[in-house]
């Protein structure tokens, strides 16, 4: 199950953060997302270590914690998407597919002329679209 997705701007400023858990652990998830930013920086600045992921937007598994796995995606415009999930084994293809759909939702949201670049995304339709994508990801995994 995806427990949290977030969008982080090019100056590591949070643009959007949404958790999908019943419990009151939003703060913990924020923390996990925050920690992953360093991992992304490291991956992007030391591409030698990661080898094959060179220049790909999908960064793969950033790091596993006790309860969560954190995946990352970095767009050409230096915007980071971070996903926190509790699923133990996730297929790479599913994850790529998720990020692709998430990216197009993001692009549509920032193309809104009323959106101010660099500010938080407050669009309700973006939030709805994200939760649809998140829900369908769960289904895709089950089938």
């Amino acid at each position: 199950m995806i427990v949290c997705v977030s969008v982080v701007g090019h100056q590591n400023n949070p643009l959007y953060l949404q958790s999908f858990t019943e419990e009151d652990d939003a703060l913990k998830l924020h923390h996990v997302v925050h920690c992953s930013l360093d991992v992304i920086d490291e991956r992007v600045n030391n591409p030698k270590k990661t080898g094959s992921t060179l220049n790909e937007t999908f960064l793969g598994l950033l790091y596993p914690t006790e309860n969560y796995k954190v995946y990352g995606y970095l767009t050409n415009t230096k915007v980071k998407f971070i996903l926190v999930t509790t699923d133990v084994d996730v297929r790479d293809a599913d994850m790529r597919n998720f990020f692709r759909r998430f990216h197009s939702a993001y692009v549509d949201a920032v193309s809104n002329p009323f959106h101010v670049p660099g500010k938080k995304i407050t669009s309700r339709s973006f939030a709805e679209r994200v939760s649809t994508i998140v829900k369908s990801f769960g289904l895709g995994g089950a089938v």
Binding site: N55, T75, N76, T77, V110, P117
Partner: protein
Amino acid sequence: MGREVSESCVDNLIIEMVSAYCNRFYESKPDLAARRIEAIGYQVGLQLSERYTMERPRFTDHLEAIKFICKDFWSEVFKKQIDNLKTNHRGTFVLQDNRFRWLTRMSVDTNQTNTDSSLDTAENKETQSASMHLYFPCGIIRGALTSLGIPCAVSADMSNLPACSFVVRIKG
């Protein structure tokens, strides 16, 4: 599925925007009008580059990003590529378009039945109004490159009308 946009509508919109800023809002301050128009282009560039770079690997250096602007970005926006790209390898790039789409329908009225001195000013005025139309594409380029992580300044040069060149100076 690609959605279509009427080209003449876009043309009219841009012409109207430029004329509104130059002749209505900031009639006596062409510099301010130019800045406003450039700023609109900047936001458009930010958003377009977000969309057009969606399905591609990240760029490794400046040249690659500039090439993207010349090829893919330009063909998406203007249905043709930049004709010539020059660089001094020190952060300055000149993008030349021999037939810039937004200038193809612009005419310079040289048939003025005025005295010589006023003909000069009339021509000057035409050049000025044509160059006003180039602030918007300048802003688009600057916005696109900035969102790709390349802060820069863009200016435009007009040689003979449908041809024009954009000079990109990368900062830092």
